[in-house]
């Protein structure tokens, strides 16, 4: 939580977050915020638990350039 707060403070200071920052932020998002019917859980672990068994997960970002 502290690390996330530090990262967000760092993001606020710069004009554009790096890809690594976006990925770290996105993977740590609580899925309960995306759909209130889902229990609180980071997006990354929810994806891996729900879909990733026996498979591989590739993460990326989409951003206008």
């Amino acid at each position: 939580m502290v690390a996330l707060a530090v990262m967000l403070l760092g993001l606020a200071a710069g004009p554009e977050p790096s890809e690594a920052d976006v990925l770290a932020y996105g993977k740590s998002l609580d899925v309960h915020r995306i759909d209130p019917r889902l229990a609180s859980e980071p997006l990354q672990s929810w994806v891996e638990r729900t879909l990733g068994r026996g498979g591989t997960v590739t993460w990326g970002i989409r951003r206008l350039r």
């Binding site: 995306i34 889902l38 729900t50 879909l51 498979g55």
Partner: protein, 261 residues
């Protein structure tokens, strides 16, 4: 979430403008085949990270026909994936067949209306039934949708459909007269496997040209909906909002292959 056509890809961050969303995408490669793509909006180009995250785009691909993962589907994603695997298990042993728009249209035209319209008595073909709904002035157009532009020898590839992917195939019938435009979509199978499974008709999309609004109307009450649409306009008419207890919907493009009959 915006409605997307088969084969359409994740367009997060496209379209320009600072309000374009910023998305994180998880692509899950399943075993033995298939993949799930989830694109989650985590901010915007202008505002950076933050705001309420939302599912921007999602698909299940390579397990039978592509299935969209819509907003609200996430809690039921595991069962949806199991259903896709079941469809894949049923369809994958079948041989691929050429896309035959004319045969698909004929099949739907000749199908008993009772097969597509709940409660309809047997004895009438769907083609005859639907053609009679808006009266003799209506112009009837049959087309296919979902498998790319007709006449294109690489129509699925043109749509961006990978060799291991398939898409649902639809026959559309549109009726038009000076007052209204009616569209019904019938899912008849898939682009690679042809006619498979039970045909399923969508609710009719009825565009009332005088009131400038669209209603979705189940086929078994379509006559009532058309009759209501034909009713004289009140002295002051509000446009845009539905007052019939049915959902007003956004017009969707039907970029299918047309075949006027």
């Amino acid at each position: 979430m915006a409605e997307r056509s088969p084969g359409e890809s994740d367009d997060c961050a496209e379209g320009g403008g600072d309000s374009a969303p910023l998305c994180i995408t998880a692509e899950v490669h399943l075993r033995p085949r298939g993949r799930v793509v989830l694109s989650i909006a985590v901010g915007s180009v202008q505002g950076g990270l933050g705001g309420r995250p939302a599912l921007f785009f999602g698909t299940i691909e390579g397990l039978g026909p592509t299935e969209q993962v819509e907003t609200g589907d996430l809690p039921g994603l595991a069962p949806k994936l199991r259903a896709a695997r079941a469809v894949d298990a049923r369809l994958s042993p079948l041989p691929d067949v050429p896309i035959d728009d004319d045969a698909w249209i004929r099949t739907v035209q000749q199908m008993p209306a009772a097969q597509l319209v709940p409660g309809h008595p047997a004895g009438t073909s769907f083609g005859d039934w639907i053609a009679a709904r808006m009266g003799p002035r209506a112009h009837v157009t049959w087309s296919t949708e979902g498998c790319g532009p007709r006449g294109d020898p690489h129509r699925l590839e043109t749509m961006g459909v990978a060799p291991d992917q398939d898409e649902w195939a639809f026959v559309n019938v549109a009726l038009e007269d000076p007052d209204a435009h009616l569209l019904v979509r019938v899912r008849i199978g898939t682009c690679r496997k042809g006619i498979v499974g039970k045909a399923v008709a969508s609710p009719a999309h009825l565009y009332d040209k005088r009131r400038h609004r669209i209603d979705q109307i189940p086929l078994d009450v379509l006559d009532a909906g058309i009759a209501e649409m034909r009713a004289p306009l009140p002295a002051t008419t509000q446009t845009g909002a539905s007052s019939r207890g049915r959902g007003a919907v956004t017009p969707r493009s039907t970029s299918g292959s047309q075949n006027r009959r």
